[in-house]
């Protein structure tokens, strides 16, 4: 159905794709794997016409595909779900799906017909969404559906999904895979990029591995194991950090029946209670949008307590603020490294000292001590293996993995008593994930209390000493790692165990709030 031959793409001195050959067959799911920066997105962008390859050709259903035209790609039956959603939040689902499907000079739109077709596609592939909903009001999972609907609406026969599950919950991912299988059964073909090896092995028929812009291997998925795949991608053995028993100490973070309301009044926390002790990692699992961001914001000093008591490193606070958190020695890893973690337009060294700019090491009389700041940043960059041209490089130039290492380094540099790690490895490749996990475990063993919030159950299970589940603003008691299972967590995340959800095995509120 699709044949790429000899695709080469250079960005300046860097060769992002190096003479890549790839075939896609009808009705198959091909997983495209590779480390961060291996060139996966670049390859798919060339396929879809966002970039023009320097060399090589593309054939779709036997016909050559004109380069550099998304329009031509769509016409040829290609559909792409981008790594970062391309949706207009202020417009409706209908608008987002139908954009570009009618000639621009047509006087009037066929909105009724579009609604019908969206409903029909939704039925057939399990992608039902309200066509008149504003996209900004949808959950991440629903937005993903809209993205896929967009492709299907255009009769895509080949669908490209760039890290579609990076932001999905296990349940949502599972539903996505059901949809994908339905599509394959319908005769579509799918290219699917992911860093999550278990799901790759579960859904794909074939895997193709890129490393540093080169196609390293293509082979059937059947019979592959995780270690082999990891080795193929990275080019060496990846050892996963070993989780050893914790040695909990004094309480470092105590939520005592804390209630709070998030921005826009939407996510609410209801009398959440939780204690994280020094030397342990408590994982919070939950489907995005159930209040974990607000929970994280409270611990990071970005939101305010409405009722209850929040005690952080022995200080009770109602209106935590980020500066106070930094002073108390809380290391914070935010959910969104681009929007919250770093200032993309500023230098590496400036970002390193951003939180601690007022400390005497870094400023005196209101003037920055640039030399010490630079030296400190250089040391941190070395210690945390951040790959960057220099500490004077702007952060925007760093890859996602390196940005994350920088944030990690900044959070850990001061040996904080409490670490808030919110989605610490989202979008990272397995090498980088292993590195971050290793560092977090070391910090725990050094006596830090760690609150880990993640939508990735594998990550929760790999790191946590105790696990709690958040759903609709309610938090279950944290249970020891050994007592929880993936399926049990999944049920809790879906709302079982929630007093408001008509739980068949009700736990008393008292029990639910005991930590």
């Amino acid at each position: 159905m699709l044949r790429l031959s000899g695709i080469t793409k250079r960005f300046g001195a860097l060769t992002a794709n190096d003479a890549i050959d790839l075939d896609l067959r009808r009705g198959e799911i091909l997983a495209l794997l590779g480390e961060n920066g291996a060139g996966k997105t670049t390859l798919m962008s060339i396929l879809f016409g966002h970039y023009v390859a320097d060399e090589g050709r593309i054939e779709v259903f036997g016909d050559p595909l004109p380069a550099g035209s998304p329009k031509a790609a769509i016409a040829a039956g290609l559909g792409m779900v981008h790594q970062h959603f391309t949706l207009a939040e202020n417009l409706s689902v209908l608008d987002n799906v139908t954009i570009g499907t009618e000639p621009l000079w047509k006087p009037g739109r066929d909105r009724a017909g579009a609604r019908r077709r969206i409903a029909e596609l939704g039925q057939r592939f399990g992608l039902a969404v309200d066509p008149d909903a504003r996209v900004g009001a949808l959950s991440v999972g629903e937005r993903q559906k809209v993205e896929i609907l967009k492709a299907l609406y255009r009769d895509a026969r080949i669908l490209i999904l760039d890290e579609p599950t990076a932001v999905l919950t296990p349940q949502e991912s599972e539903r996505l895979f059901v949809t994908l299988r339905a599509m394959v059964a319908d005769g579509l073909s799918i290219i699917f990029i992911s860093h999550k090896l278990p799901e790759v092995m579960a859904v794909s028929d074939r895997v193709a591995v890129l490393r540093a812009g080169r196609m390293i291997d293509q082979r059937p998925a059947a019979g592959l194991d995780r270690a082999t795949l990891a080795e193929l991608m990275v080019g060496r053995k990846v050892s996963r950090p070993r989780h050893t028993a914790a040695n909990p100490g004094a309480p470092a973070l105590v939520f005592d029946r804390v209630s709070a309301t998030g921005a826009g009044g939407k996510p609410k926390l209801h009398e959440v209670s939780l204690t994280v002790h020094a030397g342990e990692i408590v994982g919070i699992a939950g489907v995005s949008g159930n209040g974990q961001s607000l929970l994280a914001d409270l611990a990071a000093g970005m939101a305010r307590v409405e009722a209850g008591r929040l005690t952080i490193l022995d200080h009770e606070t109602r209106r935590p603020d980020p500066a106070a958190m930094v002073r108390l020695g809380v290391g914070r890893i935010p959910e969104d490294r681009h929007a919250e973690g770093l200032v993309g337009d500023m230098n590496v060294w400036e970002n390193v000292i951003a939180e601690r700019r007022n400390r005497p090491e870094f400023s005196r009389w209101g003037f920055l001590r640039r030399a010490t700041a630079r030296a400190h940043a250089a040391e941190l960059v070395r210690d945390f293996e951040v790959r960057c041209p220099s500490v004077d490089a702007t952060v925007r130039q760093l890859s996602g993995g390196n940005m994350q290492k920088l944030i990690l380094g900044r959070a850990l540099a001061l040996h904080p008593g409490l670490i808030l790690a919110n989605q610490p490895t989202r979008g990272l490749d397995i090498g980088a994930v292993a590195y971050v996990h290793q560092r977090l475990l070391e910090a725990r063993d050094g006596g830090a209390a760690i609150l880990l919030i993640s939508e990735d159950l594998d990550e929760i299970l790999a790191l946590s000493d105790r696990v709690a589940v958040i759903h609709a603003g309610h938090l279950t008691p944290a249970r020891p790692r050994a007592e929880v299972t993936v399926s049990g967590l999944g049920l809790l995340m879906a709302g079982a165990g929630d007093p408001d959800a008509g739980d068949p095995h009700p736990t008393t509120p008292e029990a639910a709030h005991a930590s």
Partner: protein, 349 residues
């Protein structure tokens, strides 16, 4: 075809860029001069002469550049923090009004302190004028482009009300102008028998201070961070609202100083037609300088010399005087375009 960011700008290019831009502006200017039937070589000779050709021309260019430097700094500081202050014109008049008020009201300020008091008053008034839009922005999310634009009209009407009312100079034969500042409140002349006054020194010092503030101080650091990413700045523990208000005070204050410079350095009293658009001129200058405080000095000199030169040229060769503004605008647009190509290259695909 698309634009691709260059990894770095070749040194040759950074020299060639302004030259090429001015060349392009030169060609367009030549066309205009030819259309109006004047001799092109004579026109350009007159233009150079008018901007730099004599001590008089040079001091005139510098005199015009001084307020542009201050409003340029005002725009540069605000824009760095993504506070889109389009209201420098109003702040300039507000500053001038406050300066005149302090300078002429019977407050019993000793002569030695009068000039500092006048300068301070102008800066504070300008700053306060931008504080309102900044508070509306941070508190209510009201777009500051719009509020600062509208405030220009309000301030001008207010100034008009004051100089036709309580602050009207009784000695002005009914003409609406403020009282004249006493000698002690005037900025000294730098060169006798020219208009060049200490406002230029004020502007240069301000540029230096702003440069140091932006690059060397914690406050400047916070301003840049808030401008580049308010969310990340807040996460790092910066009071975004507080920083915005400080930016507003500084930016508005600089524009207010431009008003002080004009009223205490050039005119001595306030009239409604004092500024020939120094407010928007400042935005132009700031962007030419790519928001760099020291670049603002150069940008202001460039704009001032083109205007003063072209204005003299229009008289010398009999071209409609509006050509001066045309040439400033054309040079600005050419310069912006050229600067873009210093950072980007055209590439296929």
């Amino acid at each position: 075809m698309r634009l691709e960011r260059r990894a770095e700008t070749p040194p040759l290019l950074s020299v060639a860029v302004p030259v090429l831009a001015l060349l392009a502006a030169f060609i367009i200017g030549t066309l205009l001069i030819m259309i109006s039937g004047a001799s092109v070589p004579a026109a350009y000779a007159a233009m150079a002469e008018g901007a730099f050709g004599s001590r008089f021309a040079l001091t005139e260019t510098l005199t015009r550049a001084a307020p542009l430097m201050l409003t340029g700094l005002a725009a540069a500081v605000a824009f760095r923090a993504r506070l889109w202050n389009i209201g420098a014109e109003g702040q300039l008049y507000g500053g001038a009004l406050a300066a005149v008020w302090i300078g002429t009201a019977p407050l019993g300020i000793p002569d030695t302190l009068l000039l500092p008091a006048v300068i301070l008053a102008g800066a504070v008034a300008g700053g306060l004028l931008l504080l309102g839009p900044a508070v509306l922005k941070t508190r209510f999310g009201v777009d500051e482009v719009v509020t600062t634009l509208l405030l220009n009209f309000i301030v001008l009407l207010f100034v008009s009300m004051m100089i036709e009312g309580p602050m009207k100079d009784p000695m002005a034969m009914g003409w609406p102008q403020s009282e004249t500042l006493p000698m002690a409140a005037e900025l000294p002349r730098l060169i006798p028998r020219t208009r060049l006054h200490a406002g230029l020194i004020m502007a240069l010092v301000a540029a230096g201070l702003i440069y140091v503030m932006m690059t060397r101080t914690v406050l400047g650091f916070e301003m840049r961070a808030v401008g580049a990413s308010p969310r990340a700045a807040r996460f790092a523990g910066m009071g975004v609202g507080r920083v915005m208000l400080l930016v507003a005070l500084i930016s508005g204050g600089l524009a207010g100083l431009a008003g002080v410079s004009e009223v205490a350095g050039r005119t001595g009293y306030l009239t409604l037609d004092m500024s020939p658009g120094y407010g928007t001129g400042g935005v132009v200058v700031a962007m030419l300088a790519q928001l760099h405080p020291l670049g603002v000095v150069l940008g202001a000199l460039m704009v001032a010399s083109i205007f003063v030169g072209a204005d003299a040229m229009s008289r010398a060769v009999g071209v409609p005087t509006y050509i001066a503004d045309v040439l400033v605008a054309v040079s600005l647009l050419c310069m912006l375009t050229a600067m873009l190509f210093a950072r980007y290259r055209l590439r296929r695909g």
